[in-house]
């Protein structure tokens, strides 16, 4: 059934559409609501995706973001959460196809905002041999704030080059994998080299740290892998999952 507010809601989301019959407003005043809806959400996307905006320019960004707002309006009332699907939209947005890395830059930027607001995690530090030995039988997971991003583009290089007032050059044009996470109160990036990227990917689906170590082709790599895990846990990218609960009844 078309209730009054349903009609109102549809009209707000239809720019240049007619205003609902039951609203009295001469002088095109209903359009204020249509403009507010799009412009406030475009502004919210601009706050989350400043580098995407910089890479395409203000006008292009405004047009692309407006298209996204009308196609995928927020489902959450927390505006900081808006834009989770923006990267996928950008990837499929034909006018932007000359910038194939744009969607991954959007993924990185959204991961940064998500990291900032994510839940805390009571740490289980891997300091000392005892702690490492105890962790061997545990599962290792991403910290609640962390996103693993594997890109065929230099996604972090592009982001960093656009933090300066005058965009710098990307140091090395090569695929990049990184974890975006919170370290204390700050947002951190932990880049992973080829070995680290492959091991972390295995680790996140393995039943335990030990099981992941056993998949290494050369046993002498286990030391390097352990050091990597210790570092990523210390920096807040990974966490040692709590032990599986012991069944109370047999």
């Amino acid at each position: 059934m078309r209730t009054p507010l349903k009609s109102f809601s549809i009209a707000v989301r239809t720019p240049d559409g007619v205003q609902p019959m039951f609203v009295s407003a001469a002088g095109g005043r209903f359009a204020i609501y249509q403009r507010n809806h799009v412009s406030s959400l475009v502004a919210a996307l601009a706050r989350t995706f400043p580098v995407v905006k910089r890479l395409v320019g203000d006008d292009f960004f405004a047009a692309m973001a407006a298209r996204f707002v009308l196609q995928a309006p927020p489902r959450s009332r927390i505006i900081a959460e808006y834009g989770g699907d923006f990267a996928a939209f950008v990837a499929a947005f034909e006018p932007a196809e000359t910038l194939p890395y744009l969607a991954d830059v959007a993924r990185l930027e959204h991961a940064r905002v998500a990291a900032f607001h994510a839940a805390d995690h009571e740490g289980f530090d891997l300091d000392g041999e005892g702690a490492i030995a105890a962790a061997l039988t545990r599962r290792i997971a991403l910290h609640p704030s962390a996103t693993l991003l594997a890109s065929p583009h230099p996604v972090l290089g592009l982001w960093q080059a656009n933090q300066r007032e005058t965009p710098g050059a990307v140091a090395r044009w090569a695929p990049e994998t990184l974890i975006i996470h919170r370290d204390g109160d700050a947002i951190a990036h932990s880049p992973l080299d080829d070995f680290a990227a492959e091991f972390v990917t295995t680790l996140l689906t393995a039943d335990s740290l030990e099981a992941a170590l056993l998949t290494l082709a050369e046993p002498e790599l286990a030391g390097a892998a352990l050091l990597l895990v210790v570092r990523l846990v210390r920096d807040g990218a990974l966490v040692v999952a709590p032990p599986d609960p012991t069944p109370e009844h047999f």
């Binding site: 209730t3 009054p4 507010l5 349903k6 109102f8 809601s9 707000v12 989301r13 205003q19 039951f22 609203v23 009295s24 407003a25 001469a26 002088g27 095109g28 005043r29 209903f30 204020i32 609501y33 507010n36 809806h37 406030s40 959400l41 919210a44 309006p73 927020p74 489902r75 959450s76 009332r77 927390i78 505006i79 900081a80 990291a115 900032f116 607001h117 994510a118 839940a119 805390d120 995690h121 609640p144 704030s145 919170r182 109160d185």
Partner: protein, 285 residues
């Protein structure tokens, strides 16, 4: 109506809406800020620095928790998840006041990110009273309901806005937040007299006053149109209406509100000082 606890209320002086741009000054206790107003939706993070900041602010100032997304005027049931997130903040910092709007912002699961007008008729009245009652029960505290700034009206409205707000308050036990800028904006846009509106407003129910800026525009037919942008200094007519209101009510907690084109802290502090001076002229012993 469900009996709910009445929060302690805000100090009878002037407060400031929180902005990231003024964080250093606010944390250093600069200016004559008697309370801080924060937007609840900005502090709904699951963890991290946002919540640490919330704790620090609440340790320094009485907090006015101001919601913008509860959609009390909506046709759909209140969002239980949103109420839960609000309750988490309330339990964490025990705010001196919680306020929301006579407006709606969600429909069919879509959040429109705006405060939209509802019809002032019997069906809306019953719905809003039920929603306010539910919210107050879920949050464990009385809320203040804010008068809206509107650009259009619903043809099926049968109630006057002041009477409508007063009746919601009478039936639900909620208090009211009087936004004097919204009174002026809506009055000009709908050809009403803001003084008449304010004279009929039940001031004894007012737990907080909002003062903000607006923009003057013309609609497509050349008619004067005021837009509630919160992006400008408080206009002189708003100051005059504020002084006249305070002369009748005595001092009330008064917020300097600004959401766009955030100026320097000093500029906000000057507006704060002006509000304090008007409040102190009508100090009741």
């Amino acid at each position: 109506m469900t009996a709910v606890a009445c929060p302690p209320g805000l100090p009878l002086s002037a407060g400031l809406g929180l902005h990231r741009e003024h964080l250093d000054e606010v944390l250093a206790g600069a200016g004559q800020v008697s309370f801080l107003e924060i937007h609840a939706e900005n502090f709904m993070s699951a963890g991290g620095p946002t919540l640490t900041l919330l704790d620090r602010l609440a340790a320094l100032y009485p907090i006015s928790l101001h919601g913008v997304a509860l959609s009390l005027g909506g046709e759909e049931p209140l969002d239980a998840g949103h109420l839960h997130r609000l309750r988490r903040i309330i339990d964490r910092i025990a705010p001196a006041s919680f306020s929301e709007h006579l407006a709606w912002s969600s429909h069919d699961g879509v959040y429109l990110n705006d405060l939209l007008p509802l019809a002032y008729d019997q069906a809306s009245l019953l719905r809003v009273v039920e929603h306010v009652d539910q919210a107050q029960s879920a949050l464990g505290m009385r809320l203040l309901l804010e008068n809206p700034a509107t650009y259009v009206s619903h043809r099926q409205s049968t109630w006057d806005e002041v009477d409508f707000l007063a009746e919601i308050a009478r039936r639900s036990g909620c208090g009211l937040l009087l936004d004097i800028n919204n009174v002026l904006v809506s009055s000009v846009n709908h050809g009403r007299d803001p003084r008449d509106y304010l004279q009929r407003f039940p001031l004894t129910l007012v737990g907080e006053i909002h003062l903000a800026g607006h923009e003057q525009d013309r609609d497509d037919e050349g008619q004067l149109l005021l837009v509630d942008t919160h992006g400008d200094a408080i206009a002189e007519p708003v100051w005059r209406l504020f002084a006249e209101t305070i002369a009748r009510s005595g001092p009330l907690p008064t917020l300097i509100e600004r959401d766009n084109d955030i100026p320097s802290f000093a500029e906000m502090a000057a507006e704060l000082t002006r509000a304090i001076s008007i409040l102190s002229q009508h100090q009741q012993d």
